[in-house]
Symmetry: C2
Subunit: 492 residues, 2 copies
Amino acid sequence: MYDEESIVFEEVRLIWKPDRTSEIPIYKQIADEIERRISYGEYPPGSQLPSERKFAEQLGVNRSTIILAYSELRSLGIIESHTGSGTRVSKDKWEATPRHTPNWKRYAEGGSFLPNLPFLRRIREALQQQPSLIDFASGELGPDLAPVAEINALIRKLPDLSYLGYNDPQGYFPLRQALLSYLEHYRHIHSTESSVLITSGSQQSLYLITQCLLSPGDAVAIEDPSYCYSLPMFQSAGLRLFRLPSDERGVRPEDIRALYKKHRIKMLFLNPTYQNPTGAVLDQERRVQLLDVASELGLPIVEDDPFSLTAYDVRPPLPLKAMDTVGSVLYIGSLSKIAASGLRVGWMVAPRAIAERLADARAQMDFGLSIVPQQVALQFLGSDDFAPHLERLRMKLLYKRDLLVETLQRELADEVTFTVPEGGLHLWCKIRPKVSDARLFEEAIRRGVAFSPGSVYGSDSGYMRLTYARPRTEEIVPGIKLFAEALRSVME
Amino acid sequence: MYDEESIVFEEVRLIWKPDRTSEIPIYKQIADEIERRISYGEYPPGSQLPSERKFAEQLGVNRSTIILAYSELRSLGIIESHTGSGTRVSKDKWEATPRHTPNWKRYAEGGSFLPNLPFLRRIREALQQQPSLIDFASGELGPDLAPVAEINALIRKLPDLSYLGYNDPQGYFPLRQALLSYLEHYRHIHSTESSVLITSGSQQSLYLITQCLLSPGDAVAIEDPSYCYSLPMFQSAGLRLFRLPSDERGVRPEDIRALYKKHRIKMLFLNPTYQNPTGAVLDQERRVQLLDVASELGLPIVEDDPFSLTAYDVRPPLPLKAMDTVGSVLYIGSLSKIAASGLRVGWMVAPRAIAERLADARAQMDFGLSIVPQQVALQFLGSDDFAPHLERLRMKLLYKRDLLVETLQRELADEVTFTVPEGGLHLWCKIRPKVSDARLFEEAIRRGVAFSPGSVYGSDSGYMRLTYARPRTEEIVPGIKLFAEALRSVME
């Protein structure tokens, strides 16, 4: 039914490789492939080509092979190399008259939108180049936790779509109706169809809020640490971020009042249940106090609630939204962390005026979510598979959490400490020896294991997030052993 | 197979209606429903409720019924009415201590993102309230043109998805591969997987370009008229728009040079084949000249090419991208106008560095397109249904175009003139009598027919766009008759 090998296969195909069985020499195959890519516009005139060393590594050939391939292309006038500026596609090869390619580098660096954090891009690059990497970095369910078989079966029985045109900007109406039951049943949130907006996951919900409800220069408060620090969208929107420290009971309501007084914060971003990355739960008493403070100050709270349904044993407190009597809370949820991130189905519950405003803006960005995944989500939420899947997910996550905790206690009892989370996908760890985050990270990648350095979430160095949901069960022990080797190698 | 009535049904359910068979009086049902919506947070304290007149219209009841319902709620202290500021949800009803709802109005009006044009919001509103409206306004294929049966059949046979996690930020790799064949076969564009970015339709491609490659204050050139004027994203990004007039052969290359000299334009947005809204085709000679000018100036061209495959009889010239030797062109395409806009699958072909930059930004906005519609698009492009569907689409569009043209010539020969397009979905019309755009539009809506006023596309008053692809064939004659009545009524 589900073929894990095909994932790896797909990733590998991303990179072209020379055919070692061919009679055409490898260097010539490489030169031909580069020429093809240049002529097809992948590398316009003036583009930088990879260094000989890096290219040789990517293709798994000797550096001398690349030197020969580049030399061949140079002799044809297709590329040119200059000391200090590397190898570039020739600008004046193609025509007799001088022609200019747009200065794409300048365009790529323009725009108000910041690129992703270097660590995150490095993780993505490493995962692409090395599909066998044991992945404790990606914050999602692994293929053994996602309901892949259930969703495939459901797609085959999907009721016919009667209409394939542009959809309601707030989302497919029957899905919004189904979400009302879901929210009531699982989260004790009462709402109406007009207050629900379907999004392409929590990421898009946050993007819409930061782009459309806040202005450059606005101050907002964020937990410390928080996955929000990993999202350059806050900086891209020109927001000023202020930190809310938290203890074992979550953030302290009095800190919010102080921040408001000092910086006139305009919005509060919280992940109160199994917080990402720490796993902390804001306790019931604090929830009530926090809602009081917010309504006293007229301060909106964005409540991101992706993990509540993963609760292993103890039920977490009700979401803020369920106790919100004055409409302070914008509530965000999705299927990404409880079913499949690749479906890209999320939702927001907001006062009607806000839901309509964000739906209008969102229509301008992408004209709404595809009807097909909305139909899949609708069927899945209503199916007999949904509750048993959640039950299995909780058991499997608990098993993986315990396996990770035991392995760390066995392999790195003195070096790594943590608080064991009661739900969610992540273990937040303190690394006790003083080591360089970047060196540890590169050492780990080199040995075949990836994790997320704490600095990604705005914490001081010496922390990391390990996602036990992502690696397969049988990868957890070897993954931690590799990590232990990496840590010991940089401790010396 | 395909049940057209269900569209209408879904739209109607959007609005709650009182139950006329119930023993509970209508006014009481309405009061209860409003109280429910208020208590669920759809209307937080301080929110404005609809006026009695408007609410009565929406629910199809007498105004006196709403007056009674509001009075009931007022007596309970749930809402309050003040002369001049209408009816609002009470602020101090809910708790003994004073509590504040965030000032949602201010948040909704904040943010750099502009709302959609009033005409477009008016059209959307009218279509929601009056599902029987004959729709010449929406720029998409009607249900009789979209391959609904083919896509439903294909979904039932969809190969199992092996992985439901986050996808490659540039898009599903097998779909990018399939697009290379598609682009080569149908558009004579050679490209590589690394240069293709899958988007959620052309709208998202344009959004990414305007947000990530341009900066506030940058000048860009746009055809006059152009659907780009209908997209507030250009203004939201702070771009200055300059118009390129066009004649029957399309835009004039020398105008681009002049604009560049005067305003240092940074990018050129063109829809060279069956332009939206005019239907004009940029001729071959001008295409070559235009590429020359662009490469002389190092000026990037965004080529939006949604309609080429609808060519009725004559093949249009090759796309600019097929003749682009220096990498000046960012090419945009999608399935929206040739298959189904509700799938939300589009693509961009760009130099590798640009494709990667936009993929990174896009991952921050929505974490990429759902895997399910990408899989559907992959299967559809590769299916035996694809070419016959295109063939049928062309024939049906031609038939609808002819029917619209004949009807206009019969009903409004003196009042409406146009150039007959050779492809695309739209007829661009000049309305010869001097009438008010807004009055004509409201008169038409009142009589049951919608069109797009020319001002939406930046043209002077006295123009309109009629989309013959959207209404069902049997709606075209009655639709134009209703429009003719509306026009005559505002001429007097």
